[in-house]
């Protein structure tokens, strides 16, 4: 009971309740619901990248390429093999996980800038392949994907993405708070020292690549069934940069910070399409991305922990710092000590 009264749990329950009620509060507006559904997708991408890069220290740029691989797999299976969306999503998720695993193995000895360059090159190769193999992938026209089921509504799609986001966050929080989270953070800090302390660096590096790839593979294949079309543009470095910027603005060492950062950024970018200042309508168009870039520069210069995470930390998590086992262990240890005394 005491645990349920923890401000963090109360805040989480309030936020989830608000998100559940949001479509009704917006009057089921298809446009607004679609924007929020997309924001959930970006929240999954940014938080999983925060896990991979911020917590595990693996600066990969392959996220969007893996999303593309999963979405194209799902789409191609539906188109060419006539499988159900569920089968396509399953296959896309598994293939993304497998490719992530292979990238993890190939990148074992690569660090920082070298890993980034390797994954940028990988992403471009994948994008160009989907772009040029026109007869197979429809090239720049994009590949059509069927809806998840006949007659699915935008609100149902909203709830599916919300559910995916909550499930992904739960899995990633569990991982970050477990011994695996502790090990990948030690690898981030110093790979040689972690290995000298008995940590199997190879296993946990491959594991973190595979886990995040499965998560984004699932999210990507579901999301592009909702969107109805996937194009090679999905895998552009610009898209990847957007995800990274969202994670950095939110707080790249915090899963929740990155997710909230992505959600707010995505919604803000949409709201900034057209602004009204004292009755004057201004279409910002591509300039809103420039504003976003300025915000990113500000964050990197003045708030390396991100703009969102410090707020969350101050309001809710100061006394429970770190998504690690350490605090929990201390609590358990204290309890055990009280029992003993």
């Amino acid at each position: 009971m005491k645990r349920l009264l923890d401000p963090r749990y109360i805040a989480a329950a309030v936020i989830v309740a608000l998100l559940v009620a949001l479509p009704a509060l917006l009057g089921d507006s298809p446009y607004q619901v679609a924007i929020l559904t997309g924001a959930f997708f970006y929240a999954i991408l940014a938080s999983s990248w925060a896990l991979l890069a911020g917590i595990a220290g693996q600066f990969s740029f392959a996220h969007m390429a893996l999303v593309g691989i999963a979405a194209y797999t799902a789409g191609l299976m539906g188109r060419d093999l006539g499988t159900t969306p569920l089968m396509g999503i399953l296959a896309g998720t598994l293939l993304a996980g497998l490719v992530g695993l292979i990238i993890g193995i190939l990148c074992l000895r690569l660090r920082a800038a070298y890993l980034a360059l390797f994954t940028i090159a990988f992403s471009e190769i994948v994008r160009l392949w989907f772009l040029t193999e026109f007869q197979f992938t429809e090239g720049s026209n994009g590949l059509m994907l069927s809806k998840l089921w006949e007659g699915i509504s935008g609100v149902q799609e909203y709830y599916i993405m919300l559910l995916l986001l909550l499930a992904a966050m739960a899995v990633m929080y569990w991982f970050a708070a477990s011994r695996f989270g502790l090990f990948v953070r030690s690898i981030r800090e110093d790979q040689e020292a972690a290995s000298a302390m008995g940590v199997n660096v190879v296993r946990y590096k491959v594991l973190i690549f595979s886990l995040t790839s499965v998560i984004i593979g699932l999210a990507g294949s579901v999301f592009y069934h909702i969107v109805g079309i996937v194009t090679p543009n999905t895998m552009e470095i610009l898209q990847m940069s957007l995800v990274i910027a969202m994670a950095v603005i939110g707080g790249m060492e915090s899963l929740l910070g990155a997710a909230v950062g992505a959600f707010v950024s995505r919604v803000s970018l949409e709201l900034l399409r057209e602004i009204n200042i004292f009755g004057l309508q201004i279409e910002l168009g591509a300039w809103r991305y420039a504003a976003f870039g300025l915000l990113l520069m500000f964050t990197l210069r003045f708030a390396q922990n991100g703009l969102v995470y410090p707020i969350i930390d101050r309001l809710l998590m100061r006394r429970a710092r770190g998504e690690t086992v350490a605090k929990r262990l201390q609590a358990e240890g204290s309890m055990a000590g009280e029992e003993d005394s």
């Binding site: 011994r179 502790l182 090990f183 953070r185 030690s186 981030r188 800090e189 110093d190 040689e192 020292a193 972690a194 290995s195 000298a196 302390m197 008995g198 940590v199 199997n200 660096v201 190879v202 770190g322 690690t324 086992v325 350490a326 929990r328 262990l329 201390q330 358990e332 240890g333 055990a336």
Partner: protein, 262 residues
Amino acid sequence: MIELDVRNVFKSFGGIQALNGVNFRISGNEVIGLIGPNGAGKTTLTNVLDGVYKPTGGQVWLKGARIDGLPPYEIARRGLGRTFQVTRAFRRMTVLENMLVPAMALHPTARQRDFYRKSMEVLEFLTMEHLAQEYARGLSGGQQKLLELGRLLMLDPDIIILDEPFAGVHPMLMEKIYEYIKVVHQQGKAFIIISHDMESIFTLSQRLLVLNFGELIADGRPEEVKRDPEVIEAYLGEEEEEEEGVVVISPGEEGAWEGTDA
């Protein structure tokens, strides 16, 4: 029974022969000093022993099993732990988390609460318990050295290699490290201590190994080794005086006392 057997180990980097047929054996809980001029191959030998480098020739056996070529984490789990010349604490993790990493890596099925208890016991021994929730990056250089020693206790290896444990350490902290070595040695652990601090080496070591240009030029009791002409010429220099068990040595012309190793 602790047993480390280093058999004719070679290690080269391109045209540079960093280790040239090194042989020695550790039986039981000895405290061994490993000395030599800069570039002699001390750190290379450490990296070969703990699996960072695979030797280009020779074998390393630990407790009856061959370990050369195994990854460092496997060698650590088999009972050989080390510290680094430049302290390598997990800086953006708390002191307690630093302590938990080796314990949880070593005992995946043990009760988690035991890790916390043991961590706090070790931190108390190191008089660092009040720093348990501090980030390692906030600790002083000396405290980070103690933290590395603490992590080793959590790993609980049979053989501990300390690479320059006294470099840049305050005298009071040095006393703490002395105490650490003595207490842990009494628990049955063997030490290999690499240091340029001759006073500490001669105070602590029961046996001295001297490396020069990748070759082991001496292996014996400190009193014998310090009178070895080859060692004096290569490293120690001329002995000036000896009072109340304290050895004061001035470096020879080719002796190197400061700086970092290769």
